[in-house]
């Protein structure tokens, strides 16, 4: 059995080093679980990059071919604007995919494969080769799967609508949201014609699913659009499968390209999902906030001249109104806040809020040690060691400052 002698000046450091060493003995099962989760996320992010790369490559090759074709036409005395043949995107080499940075969990390919196969609910396993191909290559108008949120906003601007539920978090912790655009020429106000599901697997939102509603006027690379006939679809996609119920066509099953039909014409088109929903969505609630204003005991530190005094607020009746006002709406991020705080509010639950004045500007920190913080603040010492910033510059809801003043029994300014 290994023994440790701890003494000397660096005792605290040695003890934490010992804790770090003790982590070595963590069960293989936990490490395996961690590796699987990280691998899954890396895989999805790589997939996304690959999809984006393929689409960029498609654009570039199309542009290049257009230039070459135009040049040839010019040489032959033709019109440079004569349309060229449709060019399908090129496949990306594996090297492009493997250019991601090394990671402790960058396990060999067959381990990744095994992990994917072993994981019963791994949705990537549901995506067929054909479905993957069509999702990588297909475009609907200028939209493609894997397009980032920023690229989307650059292309189409802000969405007309966003899903009422806001961001939802699926079983694996991926964040999802729906955006709607009205891109058609119809004059029906308030009716969108393109629905996009965006997903964030760790480094920003990107398009996961594109769904065209009946009024949409966008066209696929094949020329198929809403209103195309069954014959058009079958000619454009010779290998497409008709659903058993006859209600539509699909390539790739659940993850791929689908045409929903009505009276033998295309009524809706769906491309995706790159990352399908897990079988059961376990958590639809928004991501928990890293701070909490709920408390029945708040210590308010009040600035007076060049020192601080502590005042205690106790009881539900006094504290609840402060919790309600501070949490009543999303906080607005500010670029900066005044230098001098007016109040520190320690909620005794790990959250500390700072109020700078009646303009409602403030900051939020996590507080590691209420006692230590109090001692440091009241004695004019350094409080920074006790604080970890959560939001350094925000605007609290209107009336926050006044409500704290009322709770302290001070007249409102």
């Amino acid at each position: 059995m290994r023994k440790y002698e701890i003494n000397g000046k660096n005792a605290a450091g040695d003890r934490s080093l010992k804790l770090l060493e003790a982590f070595s003995a963590v069960d293989d099962k936990l490490l395996e679980q961690y590796d699987h989760i990280v691998q899954k996320r890396l895989k999805i992010c790589r997939y996304r990059r690959k999809a984006a790369f393929v689409c960029s490559a498609a654009l570039a090759s199309t542009a290049l071919l257009c230039i070459i074709t135009a040049a040839l036409h010019m040489q032959r005395g033709g019109n440079p604007l004569t349309p060229s043949a449709t060019v399908l995107p090129a496949e990306e080499s594996e090297e492009g995919e493997s250019a991601t940075s090394a990671h402790p969990s960058d396990e060999p390919e067959d381990i990744k494969q095994n992990a994917a196969e072993e994981n019963i609910s791994d949705n990537q396993a549901e995506i067929t080769e054909e479905g993957q191909r069509v999702m990588e290559e297909e475009r609907i108008g200028d939209l493609y799967l894997g397009m980032t949120e920023n690229e989307l906003i650059q292309l189409l601007g802000e969405p007309k609508e966003i899903s009422n539920s806001g961001v939802v978090i699926d079983e694996y912790g991926y964040r999802r949201i729906c955006w709607w655009y009205d891109l058609g020429s119809d004059n029906i106000q308030y009716r969108a014609d393109v629905q996009l599901e965006l997903i964030d697997c760790g480094d920003g939102f990107f398009i996961n699913t594109i769904y065209l509603l009946p009024e949409a006027e966008l066209t696929l690379l094949s020329g198929i659009r809403i209103g195309s006939s069954s014959g058009d679809v079958e000619r454009a996609y010779p290998k497409i499968e008709r659903d058993e119920a006859g209600s539509g066509y699909n390539i790739g099953g659940l993850s791929g390209l689908r045409f929903y039909m009505e009276n033998e014409t295309v009524k809706n088109i769906e491309l995706g999902s790159l990352i399908p929903y897990p079988p059961e969505v376990l958590d639809k609630s928004p991501e928990p906030l890293p701070y909490d204003f709920a408390s029945e005991h708040i210590t308010v530190y009040v600035k007076s001249e060049d020192s601080w005094t502590a005042e205690e607020l106790n009881g539900w009746e006094v504290c609840k109104p402060i919790e309600v006002i501070m949490g009543i709406e999303d906080l607005t991020e500010l670029e900066s806040v005044p230098l001098q705080p007016m109040y520190y509010l320690d909620f005794h639950n790990g959250t500390l809020a700072v109020l700078y004045g009646s303009d409602e500007s403030g900051s939020i920190y996590t507080l590691s040690d209420s006692g230590g913080f109090q001692e440091a603040l009241l004695s004019g010492g350094d409080t920074a060691q006790y604080l970890t910033p959560v939001k350094e510059a925000v605007r609290f809801p209107a009336d926050t400052f006044a409500r704290v003043q009322r709770a302290l029994g001070r007249s409102e300014q």
């Binding site: 010992k18 679980q33 969990s105 960058d106 890293p290």
Partner: protein, 186 residues
């Protein structure tokens, strides 16, 4: 070559076991060493030492999961090398920050003296990790097993850096309480 085949090479005392291990787990082990040491040469040496340790240990050792087995050796060698390099002076870097964070987990009222048992502490940490929700547990492992920077963890788990810091802080507070409750000395 899969883990089983590699292990067979070790058991047959076939030296290509080391080459195959290096091919399969070289990047993985190097990343672990480099997160701790932040030095390419030292990391390379730790990885090479890992192969040697594995060669000496297998057989009779029969690792259940080769990745964890090798990663654990690399991690221990790297921490030992880190301790040697920082015996007199503690420098900056991810490990130092992680160590400072871990100070929060040390139970109050204990005198840092005497002979202490690592296994007991390791067992308590292991049991504690099982009490955490999956995400929080993964963040703890990412931070204190792989010694990953907070920024990387934030990107990997789709959280803001502040959010990761808050979750880690709360987990450390829980770990401290757990160790105190279990009467484990650090």
């Amino acid at each position: 070559m899969n883990d089983q085949s590699i292990l067979e090479l070790y058991w047959n005392r076939n030296e290509s076991a080391i080459r195959e291990t290096s091919k399969r787990y070289g990047t993985y082990c190097f990343s672990i060493a480099h997160n701790i040491l932040k030095n390419r040469e030292d990391s390379d040496e730790c990885v090479n030492d890992t192969w040697l340790h594995a060669w000496n240990a297998i057989p009779p050792a029969r690792p259940g999961r080769l990745a964890s087995y090798l990663g654990r050796i690399t991690r221990n060698l790297s921490i030992n090398r880190y301790k040697l390099a920082h015996a007199k002076k503690r420098g900056g870097g991810v490990v130092t920050v992680a160590l400072e964070e871990l100070m929060e987990c040390i139970p109050d009222g204990q005198e840092p003296c005497g002979m202490l048992e690592l296994e007991e502490l390791a067992g308590a940490i292991n049991s504690f990790l099982y009490t955490l929700p999956e995400r929080d547990r993964c963040l703890m492992l990412g931070r204190y097993w792989y010694v990953e920077p907070v920024k990387h963890l934030a990107g990997r788990f789709g959280l803001s850096e502040n959010n990761v810091k808050v979750i880690l802080h709360r987990s450390r507070v829980r770990l401290k309480e757990y160790l105190e409750k279990e009467g484990v000395t650090v």
